[in-house]
């Protein structure tokens, strides 16, 4: 028996399916907000990295390579950093994490955190090297590492928000 979906159900499904993308989109825009916290803006954590890491583990089908590319591109355009830098970092994160998803699924937060520390460190070093190549000048590595560290510190918050949103995905309308 084929059950026709109502318009409301279709909308609900569409929203649920775009939820990972929307979360990453908001995270990218958050990186362009003014915090008024001394020195934070020059070491703004890469919120998108945590979000991409989460969805790459938990919902890789709803957050594909294309999504990572688009979010990275938008982040680069809004924040004014060299074009392609965030795009490549998010793309590589998505590509590196999804094949290892089985290692993380069903494990406690600490396990995810360790994984994210490794990814953050790799992303910080790679983005620093790429920025130096693109800009032709070397950005202070300390700030880049501090930014990565702050990203690691706020990861449990990002993880908690994403877990709540993921529950919405599995709940019946």
């Amino acid at each position: 028996m084929i059950i026709e979906k109502t318009f409301r159900q279709k909308c609900d499904l569409a929203i649920r399916q775009t939820l990972p993308f929307l979360t990453a989109f908001i995270a990218a825009l958050l990186m362009a907000t003014q915090t008024h916290v001394p020195r934070l803006n020059s070491m703004m954590p890469m919120f998108t990295l945590g979000v991409v890491f989460f969805w790459a583990v938990h919902r890789p089908l709803l957050f594909g390579m294309g999504s990572a590319f688009v979010i990275g591109l938008m982040q680069d355009l809004v924040t004014g950093v060299p074009l392609g830098l965030g795009t490549l970092i998010l793309l590589l994160t998505r590509a590196a994490v999804t094949p290892q998803a089985r290692l993380f699924l069903g494990k406690p937060l600490v396990f995810h955190w360790w994984g994210f520390i490794l990814i953050s460190l790799a992303a910080a070093v790679l983005s620093w090297v790429l920025a130096a190549l693109i800009l032709g000048v070397i950005a202070p590595i300390g700030q880049v590492l501090m930014s990565a560290l702050l990203g690691v510190v706020v990861f449990p918050v990002t993880y908690g928000i994403c877990i709540l949103l993921e529950r919405l995905l599995v709940e019946e309308p």
């Binding site: 990186m31 362009a32 591109l73 938008m74 809004v78 392609g84 793309l91 693109i134």
Partner: protein, 328 residues
């Protein structure tokens, strides 16, 4: 054919496609990096369009942080009210003395300008705008302001806070614009040390303390010296306060800017009508500049003609006016 074989082939094809997509997207990301270097105008336009479209969302997301910061500021102000009041009284007395001196100097300046036939800089136009976003993190120092071409913001405008120079407008959208801060790694500003008139370039390095480069050998620079714009290259008019020299060692001279990036809420945009090194002001400004230059040249020629008819009795050298200097 067995269903499992079909499904296996389908999965293989999907895997190949995914791998190909990944490689294609990585190549596209590198292509974007090259594009960013090769076609800056196109990239700038894309940034402007995206920032313009996202401006309302960024503004909305920035509001909670702004509100919290305002509350914290109010609490701090209340705690320091008595001390602040005493300090302001003292400042006021000092400023009144400065005002009297400024009036005297203004009158003297006007008189001297009249005597030397000085051609002043074009009048400036300014307006005040709210900062709505701070972008870039460790790789770029820039802020987004909540005004664009609709509010007659133009590329190259100087951006000032109450403390001093903040940066310059680098991209202009319809409703939002991007300001590159003086601490940004791409920022280079011609400056002078106020008391010694030593010329240098203030080079941003994405830290809170930019460096002074191209300082002439043997120049005396000490911590605490004020740094102001020099007016060279036509980027900014001379005399805008930039910062103070914070440290001097054998290789590096660092400057602590007067502006505080974390406290930037409202900035003043000033159009001095200078295209300078940016060379991207609109046609109207270019025409006005050309007109002013032409008038100055004609005035200079008339003055020289007048001077040649009246020989200098002392044989002393004549003062060179900017109009003369502008002659090719």
């Amino acid at each position: 054919m067995k269903p499992s074989a079909v499904s296996g082939r389908w999965q293989t094809a999907r895997l190949v496609f995914q791998r190909f997509a990944f490689v294609a997207l990585v190549v596209a990301a590198f292509a974007l990096m090259l594009l960013g270097k090769a076609d800056t105008i196109l990239v700038e336009r894309a940034r402007t369009i995206v920032v313009d479209a996202m401006a309302p969302v960024i503004r909305a997301l920035s509001q909670p942080a702004g509100a919290i910061s305002e509350i914290a500021e109010n609490v701090r102000d209340l705690a320091n009210l008595r001390a602040e009041n005493a300090r302001l009284r003292e400042d006021n007395e000092q400023l009144l003395r400065w005002r009297d001196m400024a009036r005297r100097l203004e009158a003297e300046n006007a008189e001297l300008q009249g005597l030397t036939d000085y051609v002043p800089l074009p009048d400036s136009r300014s307006f005040t705008i709210r900062v709505m976003g701070d972008t870039g993190g460790a790789f770029a120092h820039s802020v987004l302001i909540a005004a664009g071409s609709q509010a007659k913001v133009r590329k190259g405008m100087a951006v000032l806070s109450g403390d001093g120079l903040v940066g310059r407008v680098a991209q202009v959208g319809q409703r939002a614009s991007r300001v590159v801060l003086i601490t940004d790694i791409t920022s280079r500003i011609p400056v002078v040390i106020e008391n010694t008139r030593t010329r240098a370039i203030l080079a941003g390095n994405n830290t809170e303390k930019p460096r002074l480069i191209y300082v002439p050998a043997g120049a005396r620079v000490s911590p605490g010296d004020r740094v102001v714009t020099s007016g060279h290259a036509g980027a900014f008019p001379p005399g805008i306060p930039v910062g103070v020299v914070s440290s001097v060692d054998d290789t590096v001279i660092r400057v602590q800017p007067f502006m505080d990036r974390d406290r930037l809420e409202i900035v003043r945009l000033v159009d001095y009508g200078l295209s300078g090194i940016l060379g991207s002001l609109d046609e109207e400004s270019r025409a006005a500049q050309a007109e002013a230059l032409k008038a100055a040249r004609e005035k200079g020629k008339a003055q020289r003609l007048k001077d040649s008819q009246q020989p200098n009795p002392d044989g002393a050298p004549q003062l060179q006016t900017p109009a003369d200097a502008a002659e090719p």
